[in-house]
């Protein structure tokens, strides 16, 4: 589904990623962990197509296509979804409008009929229930006046509606209390399927107790330093990140 090879990325002349290799197969859930400033969020943003980042070397293939050559909206229409670490507020654009525009942009790209109001309401209703989002939410401006947890749940709601092939969740667990994290995890787990891959970017192991990944990678100093199964996350939780960095420096 996703194949990243030797990816080098700069932001304002500073190299953040220095040769990332990552392959995620169809139906797999991978987690990327790492200390603050290791480049985790940069990787997520670059995959989604943020323009402030300069890719200086390497490539990324998404379902066989050159991901880095695509505009952000093309990536989304091809089935990539980024759940933002800091979902932004957009005053004046209501949630229903954004959700419909996003859904129909993707349907149009697939040559399908746009969703009408009736079908849209039917689609969104059960997903809102799953994410425990109140009904008045649809008529409110995107993320405006939402708590941190509500913003994250809204990201997952969008993901549930758009049903991406590859979901990249950038620290969707940060700032969530235990109950909110359970809701988010339930939403994410409901989407797991043999045809859908996921990349969870997280700082803590807690989320990975609820969404158990197939593979865990440690990103430090702009590179993946270590990969393993779910037990690696528990090891990191117990030992911290320092030993990975030390080990990497030694080798």
């Amino acid at each position: 589904m996703l194949k990243v090879e030797d990816l080098h990325v700069r932001v304002a002349a500073r190299e953040i990623l220095s040769g990332v290799d990552l392959t995620i197969g169809s139906g797999e859930v991978h987690a990327i962990m790492g200390p603050n400033g290791s480049g985790k969020s940069t990787l997520a943003q670059v995959l989604a197509g943020r323009e402030d980042y300069e890719v200086t070397a390497g490539r990324a293939l998404f379902a066989g296509e050159d991901l880095l050559a695509m505009a952000p909206e093309q990536r989304a229409r091809a089935g990539l979804f980024l759940a933002f670490q800091y979902p932004i507020e957009i005053p004046g654009v209501n949630n229903a409008y954004l959700l419909k525009a996003a859904l129909n942009a993707q349907r149009q790209a697939r040559g399908e009929q746009p969703s009408d109001a009736f079908e849209f309401m039917k689609l969104i209703k059960t997903k809102m229930e799953l994410m425990q989002i109140p009904k008045d939410f649809l008529n409110r401006s995107v993320n405006q006046g939402f708590s941190g947890g509500e913003k994250k749940r809204n990201e997952v709601l969008q993901m549930l509606l758009l049903e991406p092939k590859l979901a990249v969740l950038d620290e969707t667990d940060s700032g969530l209390d235990v109950d909110a994290m359970k809701i988010v995890a339930a939403g994410v787990n409901s989407l797991r399927s043999p045809h859908r891959s996921m990349l969870l970017v997280t700082h803590y192991e807690r989320l990975l107790e609820l969404i158990v990944p197939d593979r865990v990678h440690v990103l430090a100093g702009g590179r993946i330093r270590r990969s393993g199964g779910p037990e690696l996350a528990r090891e990191l939780d117990a030992r911290g990140y320092e030993w990975v960095q030390t080990e990497a420096a030694r080798s």
């Binding site: 197509g49 952000p72 758009l162």
Partner: protein, 435 residues
């Protein structure tokens, strides 16, 4: 100041002023005042950014005739083209003349309608209330040449919920320069909502110079939304004066979507305690458009409130001007005055000049003001694009959202949607939401 074509023409017409015989002295006096102060030039601080000089070289017709059958048909077509509802409360002026054929407002509506000459020669006319030519020279031009205009009165205690549609149509007759005037008087406790539409019946060079005077008695409530949708060859200058007595309140909205050269002046006088005004505006200016909003709010009495918010969207080489003055007079304590002006520039050539001015001569005043100028937020654009919305549509959505925030102030959802639709169509035409 040089003797211009316009001034020569005005001098020549001194003996042929229109209107009733009774109105002639007032018209002649206005013309004399205009002669004394002259048309505003960019040397006046209030007119620094808006140059009328090119207009003085054009031989405008300040006394367009009342519309004939063909003009009425063209106006009817324009009303339909702009989808202005005819819900039995419509009053239409064509080139400043009331066009009875197009009006559906009748006596049952609770509004008394007469012409402006009747207003000016009424027995109860209070001298000194007239607009000073020194402050507003263009109002003097209007006073000299005003056509029938419309004098609207709502009696004490009469409350009208459905909005009155007051449509001012420019016929598009050659170099027509109508001088429409609307006078609105609200009695004690009266309530009225007006949508004042400005539209063109033909795409032609012209100049509409309108004056709207509002006088509100104690405890009256007014909503007045002004939607200007002239064509790109029309010049539009306007003055709106609103005088509020005790506890009277007004919500005034200025929405400018069209026109080539547009200048709006708004003067609000909070004359007695408890008076309150909400003043908001939306200005769209694209290629070849210059739109200038100058507002002034005078807090003359204690415990008066003003809440002002203007937004501008400027595309291509459009130009916008906002100048908002708030004056708190001596002895006016317990004042709450807010003002904001936010502008969105859609291109690198687009220009906005914004200036809030506060003059405070009293203590115990709560004032807040601020202005911003910016482009569409790159984070917002990326967020929408990351959801599959293409860049052009994302820009359109965000520009629409910027506009929606100020239109929220239109209380009625139906009217708000109507104005938002007109603005959206215009934004697409100004369009250049793409760079």
């Amino acid at each position: 100041m040089s003797v211009t074509t316009l001034e020569r023409a005005l001098a020549a017409e001194r003996d042929s002023l229109p209107g009733s015989a009774a109105s002639r002295p007032a018209r002649a006096a206005a013309l004399a005042e205009l002669g004394a102060v002259g048309l505003p030039t960019t040397r006046r601080e209030n007119w620094r950014y808006t140059d009328l000089e090119p207009l003085t070289k054009i031989e405008f017709d300040f006394t367009p005739r009342a519309p004939d059958a063909a003009a009425i048909r063209a106006a009817a077509h324009a009303l339909a083209a702009h989808a202005i509802p005819d819900d039995g409360r419509r009053l239409v002026l064509v080139d400043g003349h009331v066009a009875p054929e197009l009006c559906t407002l009748d006596a049952r509506a609770g509004i008394e309608v007469r012409d402006v000459d009747a207003y000016r020669t009424r027995p109860a006319a209070k001298p000194g209330r007239e607009i000073a030519a020194a402050d507003h020279p263009l109002a003097a031009l209007n006073s000299a040449y005003v056509q029938s205009g419309a004098w609207l009165r709502v009696a004490d205690g009469v409350r009208l919920e459905e909005p009155l549609r007051l449509v001012l149509v420019a016929s598009g007759a050659p170099l027509s320069a109508p001088q429409p005037r609307v006078v609105v008087e609200l009695g004690r406790g009266a309530e009225l909502a007006i949508v004042q539409h400005f539209i063109d019946a033909a795409d032609a060079d012209g100049w509409v110079n309108v004056v709207t005077e509002v006088e509100q008695a104690a405890d009256s409530r007014l909503k007045l939304y002004r939607v200007q949708q002239h064509g790109r060859r029309q010049v539009h200058t306007s003055l709106l004066t609103v005088d509020l007595a005790a506890r009277a309140s007004a919500s005034l909205g200025l929405v400018d979507l069209g026109g080539r050269l547009v200048r709006n002046d708004v003067d609000v006088r909070l004359r007695e305690p408890g008076a309150a005004v909400e003043l908001f505006g939306l200005l769209l200016a694209g290629e070849g458009q210059h739109v200038d909003d100058h507002t002034r709010i005078d807090h003359l009495a204690p415990d008066t409130r003003s809440d002002e918010a203007f937004r501008g969207v400027i595309g291509r080489r459009g130009r916008g001007v906002f100048n908002g003055k708030v004056v708190v007079h001596p002895g006016a304590h317990g004042i709450d005055a807010r003002q904001s002006n936010d502008n969105l520039l859609l291109s690198e050539q687009a220009e906005i000049d914004t200036k809030p001015e506060l003059e405070i001569y009293s203590d115990d005043v709560k004032c807040a003001h601020g202005s911003t100028v910016g482009e569409l937020d790159a984070e917002h654009l990326f967020y929408l694009r990351s959801r599959g919305v293409d860049e052009a549509q994302a820009r359109e959505i965000l520009t629409g959202a910027f506009v929606a925030v100020v239109l929220e102030r239109i209380a009625s959802p139906e009217l708000r949607a109507e104005v938002a639709d007109a603005a959206a169509a215009c934004l697409r035409a100004v369009g250049e939401t793409a760079r």
